[in-house]
Amino acid sequence: MSALIVADRLRRSFHVSHRAGFLRRRRTEVVAVDAVSFTVDRGEAVGYVGPNGAGKSTTIKMLTGILTPSSGGATVCGLDPAKQRRALASRIGVVFGQRSQLWWDLPLAESFELLRSIYRVPRERYRERLAECVELLELTPFLATPVRQLSLGQRMRGEVTAALLHDPELLVLDEPTIGLDLESKERLRTFLADLNRRGTTLLLTTHDLDDIERLCGRLMVIDHGRVLADGPLSELRAEVVTERTLVVDLTEPRPPLTGLPGVREVRTELDGLRQHLVFGRSDTTAAALISALVGRVAVHDVSVAEPGIEELIRRLYAR
């Protein structure tokens, strides 16, 4: 696999001036992104998460050429974003959840047509690409509607299509599901997951951890301008979260099932009909626990609950 994004000690600071007495201003330096390095391979789907002001958007701006780094550098699609912004623009697609790249007074279809000529997409390829998006994102009912009259969910589907018309190798999404209802979110996620499967690299920032859970094989957590963790979601879980929970549904209520090897804590629900067995990841396995269980009680159903991603990130911060 080849690297599509290489960030090499990317750093960006801003000068903020404060009022310091009458007419006097003091300039202080705020570091938004502090020597961030990472590599994203072609075909990956990476979630870039962190609290507000962590430096996510600043990183994205540097990777797309909107902002020049204070120091360090980046290579995206083999180009230097700061120096080759316009050349890079034809190779990447960017969706901002909060700002539109469509023309508010034009019907969606005409916005697409304009973007086709802006990106100089050959007519034949444009037609194929558009037909595909129209079908998968179900755009037909509102293709002729002026953008200003679209609902947020409809507009976002339009935005994603707009970013894909020129067949970019990399799709960058900044908070793509913000403000969407559940159904629209799900539709968008399904589409993006499919897109990634067919080879488009995804880099997305989000506050919605379901986006990551559904879309991203890899998670990068950033805070205060530094990458706190970087790796597959499952590995990060194993590393940070040392406990798992086996949820057991019994055929009849029982007192708490204490004394099983490796179990650290037992919580009961429904008078003991459902029991949560918290066990150390390194002490035992779910399989060993289940076989120990069936010898003692009549089990109706079992499931393993992984800690949620919020929990994961909370622990990363606490680390």
């Binding site: 960006r12 902002l67 623009a89 700002r99 790249q101 304009l114 000529s117 802006i118």
Partner: protein, 265 residues
């Protein structure tokens, strides 16, 4: 072709604006009236005086006409730069930066206002009328000058506009300041520069090249020597000055966008 891209952007703007016919017509008339208002001011002045800065009414109206058409064209083509502070504040400028096209061309074509043709129509009407009723010794070069002067004026106004609006990259609320320069230069260039105090004349002639928009070309058309003693060939120099101004404006804009990329918003 890149040009075709801009044509299709412009075409879409026109179609969208013409689809609200009544509102378009009202805006169009309002723009005409705005331009006519300045005409009335000049006529009122001449109701009180027989000359202004040493010039008769038809001479002043030639300057007014050239400046008016030039400003109208500039307003039509680059007037959207007034929206720059909004584009910066909302982050919409970032979207433009993410496209494989010139940022300036996108800002300019992105929201072109066809109704501004109203202003051009009014000024052009006055210019054609005054030129045809004035006592001008027409010749081929002069005819060429009369036709190109408003266009050259448009390039000069446009350049002034781009430079003035670039300030918004440093001061987001710099619009008022920019407008003072752009609309101000229109007002100044509608009158003979002889009515202004010497320091302002120098600024208009050499810093903001407003005198080259209408004053010097009008003198050349009228075969009048400059009461201030400037050589007669200056009236024919405007295209050259416009070329330089456009070049400077392009550089200033590039510098300003670089600055934006260097600071963010």
């Amino acid at each position: 072709m890149a040009d075709r891209v801009y044509l299709s952007i412009l075409g879409s703007r026109f179609r969208s604006q013409l689809s609200y016919r009544t509102s378009f017509l009202l805006d169009f008339v309002a723009q005409m009236l705005g331009q006519a208002g300045e005409l009335i001011v000049i006529l009122v002045l001449f109701g009180r005086a027989t000359e202004l800065g040493g010039f008769a009414v038809h001479e002043v109206l030639i300057m007014y006409g050239i400046a008016g058409v030039g400003f109208g064209l500039a307003d039509l083509f680059v007037g959207q730069l007034d929206e720059l502070p909004r584009l910066i504040r909302t982050g919409q400028l970032d979207v433009l930066l993410l496209r494989p096209l010139s940022t300036l061309a996108q800002v300019v074509t992105g929201d072109i206002q066809l109704r501004r043709v109203g202003r051009i129509a009014a000024a052009l009407g006055v210019l054609v009328y005054v030129l045809s009723t004035s006592d001008i010794a027409w010749s081929a070069p002069k005819l060429l000058l009369a036709i190109t002067a408003p266009l050259v004026g448009a390039v000069l106004f446009g350049s002034i506009w781009v430079v003035a609006c670039s300030i918004c990259f440093w001061i987001v609320d710099g619009r008022e300041l920019a407008n003072a320069v752009t609309y101000g230069s229109n007002m100044f260039s509608s009158y003979p520069i002889t009515v202004y105090p010497p320091w302002l004349r120098r600024v208009l002639a050499f810093v903001i090249p407003g005198a080259f928009i209408a004053y010097y070309p009008a003198l050349a058309l009228l075969d009048r020597p400059d009461p201030l003693g400037a050589p007669a060939f200056l009236g024919w120099c405007s295209p050259l000055i416009a070329l330089v101004a456009a070049g400077v404006a392009g550089l200033v804009w590039r510098f300003a966008v670089r600055h934006y990329q260097g600071t963010g918003s």
